[in-house]
Symmetry: C2
């Protein structure tokens, strides 16, 4: 039985791990939601220390794994949701880490100065950073995923893998946060992948459940209309 | 024979890979330095596409590997500069990814708004971001590494591994960029690790060679006195 340590009230980075667990049908305890955020904070200084820097963290028997792209890779490779060969595994891992970079940059659009302060205290630089993000970074990252799909086919590394779930989630979140910008991108294969992933039995069941929280302005993908204004 | 694709005139993220190759004594062609940055740019659209998003990229026979922490892990595990057991390998990978996050945050201190513009065009937000970085992030990240060493001993995961080289490099770079801030941190074990790594035969030879470029204001770790002023 896996234990997932993540904050209870947002999708956040924990969602990338949840999607893999839900797709696999692996039972897990969502510690933050079951026991509260205090239990997550205590674990970070306790059973998860010292190697886990921040949530999400997965605990499996005596293994403690942090860093989103490492957790999803480990789960995917362990449970057959990853290529079996080294080349494919490295390709999936590379894409997963690049998506993690995109997630970090998305977070910085509303927190460009200080993660310890609210968005409201950094609105002017957030506006400037969001503009560059919309104009340069969204096209670059989504174009990267689209070009891979042009070569690989229906899934990013040929066969369905954990990284397709991460691509689903990042497109889902960016569409919520920057709808007009995302709709303007020419990424037909990536959109098809999003639809394909949403129809997978485990994912469809999860998205229809109460466990799937809505996107919100407490998470990573936030919709502030002023950050998309021209 | 490995091929490393990275820009020729800076240490940058490529340096984390170089340190592993140099420590291991593995021969490699440093494509940017041998053939120029145009060769790197061309390869990104050619032999390295579509999976590699950005340099550094390592090519080994038919394998193309990007993402610094993935490259160093792969090299370390292949050549015995990593733990042999799963638990240790995951610990090293977690730390390496956390160091990669620290490197990205360091870059953002001089480019908080737009990676496509010069530092000079974002000096005011750079000052604000650097302040938060010095006050909150440097203590948090370096404290994390120090706490691990308190538990693990002379090396971050018990035996010498690629992640110790990354810790060396990030402390080295931060000390160049924010000397007063770093000197104020109480991280005696991390400083000892830095000294220990600098004495390893392959690393000592490399640091004394012309291949080791100096830190500079074209790289990731930049020393702008105004970003450290109170």
């Amino acid at each position: 039985m896996y234990e997932l340590y993540y904050w209870s009230e947002i999708q956040g980075r924990g969602e990338f791990v949840r999607l893999v667990l839900e797709d696999l049908g692996q039972p897990y305890v969502d510690i933050g939601r079951d026991k509260g955020d205090e239990a997550v904070a205590e674990a970070l200084d306790g059973v998860l220390a010292p190697y886990a820097f921040a949530p999400p963290v997965l605990r499996a028997r005596d293994l403690v794994i942090s860093q989103t792209a490492l957790i999803t890779r480990w789960l995917g490779e362990k449970h057959g949701l990853a290529p079996a060969d080294e080349k494919g595994r490295l390709q999936a891992a590379m894409i997963a880490l690049t998506i993690a970079d995109l997630v970090a940059e998305t977070h910085d659009t509303h927190h460009p100065i200080n993660v310890g302060e609210t968005y409201e205290k950094q609105k002017a630089p957030a506006h400037a950073r969001s503009r560059a993000f919309r104009q340069l970074r969204i096209p670059k990252f989504l174009g990267y995923l689209e070009r891979i799909l042009e070569q690989s086919g229906d899934y990013l590394v040929g066969t369905p893998s954990y990284v397709d779930l991460s691509a689903f989630q990042v497109l889902d979140g960016l569409t919520y946060a920057f709808p007009r910008t995302v709709h303007r991108q020419h990424v037909p294969r990536l959109r098809k992948l999003h639809e394909r992933i949403a129809r997978r039995p485990g994912i469809a069941a999860y998205l229809g459940s109460e466990r799937r929280l809505p996107h919100s302005e407490a998470g990573i993908f936030r919709h502030y209309p002023e950050l998309e204004a021209a």
